[in-house]
Amino acid sequence: MVPERRRPPEASSKSSSSMMSESPRNRKPDLPFTPFDSTNLWCGDRHGRSFLEFSPPLVTQSNGLFGPDRETKSKNQHEPSPVDDPVMDWNPRLMLSNLSFLEQKIHQVQDIVRSIISHEDQFLDQANELAAQQQLVTADLTYIIIQLISTAGTLLPDIKNALLSTNPAVGRPGSNQKQHEILPVEVAKASQYDSLIKDLNSCGGKEDELIKCSNNSGVEASEPIPIEDHDTKDNDDGMDGENLPPGSYEVLQLEEEEILAPHTHFCLICGKGFKRDANLRMHMRGHGDEYKSPAALAKPSKEASIEPQPIRRYSCPFVGCKRNKEHKKFQPLKTILCVKNHYKRSHCDKSYTCSRCRTKKFSIIADLKTHEKHCGRDKWICSCGTTFSRKDKLFGHVALFQGHAPAIPMDDAKVLVTSDKAQVSEASSGMPGNMDYNFSGNTSLDAQSPDLKGVDDGHGCFSPMTLDACNIWGLAEFPHSAYEVSESTFSFLATVPFKGMEKIKFQAAGMMNCSEQHYPVIIYIRSNKGVQVETSIMTDAHARTVSFEVPVYSWHLNPTSAEISICRTQHERGKYYKCRIT
């Protein structure tokens, strides 16, 4: 189940649906499933297939895209496919069948190509279909190559030996008691496939998914149960570096109900449940004076620890999991909390969806919160449009590809566009009071609602005012597609940056007609001395004003005017609105 997290949503839902049919014993049947997106509804018809049938997912995926060929293809799938046992004991017969399968496969591809040739004139007006055909061919070829390599891989002596030594139970599909894990060698091989396929499969589009599916297919097909090596997150669950010899500790296995129970501590009198025993003790005080004594309120474990307790470790109740005590390479979990987190992460549905990217799903709310801290803040952008959350990843990407360059944030880029037309804003450099930046090129990106533009233009916000404060009415534009808040309007009233204060305080007031209650907003302020300040605040849908402060040290040179821009993420930075410092 773990690999699900690495896979795109359709892959995960696919395998979970298959899981459902194959091994329901580990799940409550009424557990809610992740709703399918419309894009992967086509997977639905694959219910009830065994895992062995699941082996060539490339083909099935292409089938989904491409109706007419489905009949022939699914025939192939129902054939027993010996291909997918590169992990098994090597025997010549298997190899022979592998090779013959590959031969068959190649013939199929030939057929497809032939049919393309013969229907060439028909395809002229059906470009989509032709593209689909091509994709199909590419996918098939990729699959063939993977199989070829994995078949050859079984011949390598070291792999073979490793396989023999660690997998006595291979070849018995369906046995749930004996599991084996994917060897690291195998994983390494898979990554080699990845790079190989990337080279081969340059047709873009579905590329990544294809590759992932192909890898997963290899993994799942070789195992009777889609259970895999624990991943890094499981390492966090507590057993890092601990090498207790088996038998030196006591293994406890909680039941699934216990793990998923919201409360673990119950009041013996009224039956109320609590998450922590300290809370229970606090609660018990209400039931009488005898519970108020220091002894009753003290932490019970401390008293019990007088006699040396046996080391206690925990096992996951999910059979086949590496954290399960039946597993060949059992790695116990350290604490109950580890058990809970592991079980929820690995064997439960991910019911918490990130409200911003709407793709990332989590089963633990803390994980979601961790993700939300970083979500949407991919501020390192390449000229090809790829975004990165880390600068070194961007530079690695730029170093790798010819012609890709780091992209300078949008507002600067816009001006670069305008300057091509030789619209030079001479006054932009250091002339106080004259702030005529020429941002004529920025309309294409921002869906600006006209009424607010009217406000922007019509309001005398740049007229010299005798008050200490100068109001600006601004509008923060967000790309509508990303958050579906296109009609939400933000009008900000920014007041009063004073000269010479220790901190410059901005106040932004306005209405936020937005469905979400809290979300961080990045505010950019830049002065006419070229200083840019960035600050991030949490907005509140109910509060009408938001105030924030900018320290003066980042605001040197006593600017005479400043501009402010409000947006969600850095690369959304849109228009700057001017405000005057008095």
């Binding site: 780091p406 300078i408 804003s425 450099s429």
Partner: protein, 630 residues
């Protein structure tokens, strides 16, 4: 036609004429229409008589008979003095036009006149705007518009007032651009760097002190300008390992890379050292680089020749030895303000077979270290031990006996050395041309006698703050090739010694007499007479110097820097200098209380090349002459 070809050939053959006389109308059978003389540096084009040519009005302008080819050849030989070109262009229209088309380099004094200047000089390839404190975007736009195909180099290192938009216009329009100097543009950000990234053919780029440029900007440059050969990122505090690493990956042609004071660590060094042609690497003041980091670098660089690791305070001999073992081709090492030069460091120089120059300014040097260094290195040409503590007679003598080929030696402030060292220096290093021994107070008359006697090739000698007297100066005047002599704060010298120098060193170009208070007008007059090539003279606080000195100095027509702070000079002396020294660019007349408006007015009138005047009471008052520097 034949005549013109003959002229061409003759001009071509003469390398550097002093006077060229083109006699155009002195009769047809003249066998030698083109004559040279070396008496004055002027071009003289003579007509038979102006009246005669005026009379023959039906004939065309006589100068038109000179083809543009000839004029260009003449102009090629006028590069040295800007005033000559100005005179040339004032001869007639065709000369003016030829000069306009011929000019390749332009150094305007103010950017406001840039459009007009560019209209006059359409083929300028080298535009130096370092004298224009303010260059607006519109000025740059006019550059981009006027010099589309010809501009190859632009220098904006001392200008302000432009933004990335201006750079963008120049970058987009001038396709031939190969050199940009944007140093000190502290307010330019990544957008400007992205604009530079559009100059595909860029080969040299200086971005010193562009503190706002970050890795993103330098990344754009690295991707855009893949032909870069020289890149200076000194003081670019926004750049880190990632940016430098990307430069090293993308710009494979890099020859010279200056990463001084950039907050980089050793992580980018493998990529930098992997550059196949890298010759010059400066890592001055990279405080994040330490021993462990350097030892972890495994990359070798065969091509590296010059390495500057001054002020790397966290590097000790272990890291440095490790780096040196990776760079076998080094010619030049600078380790100024390095902690301690000991035996172990010196022995790490052993494998550098090509090493020629070591600079150890401000280091702590031990005698054993100096001896080991003398034994490890093959044959050094240059050694700088300035401000080093611990330099002794023993160590230095041992060193110079091992390295007889030494050409430049700097022992400034090595206060412990005596005549013993000088005896071994002068006897071993006979080819010495530069010797700096400021504040070597233990050296006596005998030492100076040895210098004058043995170092005949000496060109630069710095004896500031030494125990020098007239007899020593007389001995030193035996170095006939001396062009730079610094004898400031030598309180014992007087006119007598200067007269010897004036007689002995006719090639003297720079003379420093700062606070040598024994000097009077007589000595300065002797110098002015004896050293006609004098360009720089410092007479500050020589309180006996008066207007007479200035009048005599006005004969030195090459004089460009005059410092007479605190001298008893008046306006009349200044007027004489202003009239005589037309190349004067720098003048310090602070604390000259007798100079009044009259002197300043004359100065403003005559000294059109003047760029910097230091006046009392204002600190620095820059006076820009009104006209373009033509």
């Amino acid at each position: 036609m034949a005549k013109s070809r003959d002229l061409c050939r003759r001009i071509d053959r003469s390398d550097g004429f002093a006077t060229l006389t083109l006699d155009l109308f002195s009769g047809s059978p003249n066998p030698n229409p083109c004559s040279y003389s070396r008496s004055a540096k002027r071009v003289r084009v003579s007509c038979a008589s102006p009246a005669a040519s005026a009379a023959e009005e039906n004939r065309s302008n006589p100068f038109d008979s000179l083809s543009e080819e000839i004029l260009f050849l003449i102009l090629d030989r006028l590069e040295s003095d800007p005033l000559d070109k100005k005179s040339f262009s004032l001869v007639c229209r065709s000369f003016y036009a030829a000069e306009s088309r011929h000019r390749r380099a332009l150094t305007p004094l103010r950017s406001g006149l840039l459009p007009a200047a560019l209209a006059r000089y359409p083929s300028v390839s080298r535009l130096d705007l370092s004298l224009c404190p303010s260059v607006t975007d519109s000025a740059l736009a006019s550059v981009g518009g006027a010099l589309r195909s010809s501009l190859r180099s632009i220098d904006l290192s001392r200008s302000r007032g432009f933004s990335y938009a201006g750079i963008e216009i120049v970058a987009v329009n001038c396709a031939a651009l190969v050199e940009i100097n944007l140093s000190n543009a502290t307010d330019l950000s990544d957008a400007a760097a992205a604009a530079i990234g559009r100059v595909r053919n860029l080969e040299k780029l200086w971005l010193a002190r562009c503190k706002m440029v970050t890795d993103m900007g330098i990344g754009c440059i690295a991707v855009g300008c893949q032909k870069l050969r020289l890149l200076c990122l000194k003081w670019c505090l926004g750049i880190s390992d990632l940016g430098v690493g990307l430069v090293a990956v993308k710009c494979k042609q890099l020859r010279s890379l200056d990463l001084s004071f950039v907050p980089i660590t050793e992580k980018c060094l493998p990529a930098v050292l992997q550059l196949p042609h890298l010759e010059d690497l400066a890592l001055v003041g990279c405080l994040s680089i330490d021993d462990e980091g350097l030892m972890s670098v495994k990359q070798e660089s065969k091509s590296l020749q010059v390495l500057d690791m001054s002020n790397c305070q966290h590097v000790n001999h272990a890291g440095f030895s490790s780096l040196l073992s990776k760079t076998p081709g080094l010619h030049e090492i600078s380790l100024a303000y390095y902690c301690k030069v000991t035996h172990s460091l010196a022995s790490s120089l052993q494998k550098l077979y090509n090493l020629q120059s070591i600079k150890l300014d401000g280091c702590e040097v031990t005698t054993s270290g100096l001896k080991t260094m003398a034994n490890s290195c093959r044959s050094l040409g240059e050694l700088s031990l300035s401000k080093c503590s611990g330099v002794t007679d023993e160590g230095l003598s041992f060193f110079v006996t091992k390295h007889k080929g030494l050409v430049k030696l700097d022992v400034t402030c090595c206060r412990n050395i005596t005549d013993l060292s000088l005896a071994s220096i002068t006897s071993s290093c006979t080819s010495l041309t530069n010797l700096s021994m400021e504040s070597c107070i233990l050296v006596s008359r005998e030492g100076f006698r040895l210098i004058g006697q043995r170092c005949h090739l000496l060109e630069e000698l710095d004896l500031t703050d030494n125990d020098l007297d007239d007899a020593g100066l007389r001995a030193i005047s035996g170095c006939r090739n001396l062009s730079v002599l610094k004898i400031g704060i030598c309180l014992k010298i007087s006119d007598e010694g200067l007269i010897h120098v004036a007689k002995g060193c006719p090639n003297l170009q720079e003379l420093d007499l700062y606070r040598s208070v024994g000097i009077t007008d007589i000595g300065v007059m002797a110098i002015a007479r004896g050293c006609p090539l004098l360009q720089i003279i410092n007479l500050s606080y020589c309180t006996e110097v008066t207007d007479y000195s200035l009048r005599s100095l006005s004969k030195c027509s090459n004089l460009n820097t005059l410092e007479i702070r605190g001298c008893q000079v008046s306006s009349s002396g200044l007027a004489a200098v202003a009239a005589g020294c037309r190349k004067l660019t720098k003048l310090d007349i602070k604390k000259c209380y007798f100079v009044d408006d009259a002197g300043m007015l004359l100065l403003a009138r005559f000294s059109q090349n003047l760029r910097q005047v230091e006046l009392e009471p204002s600190e620095v008052w820059k006076q820009q002459s009104q006209e373009m520097h033509v």
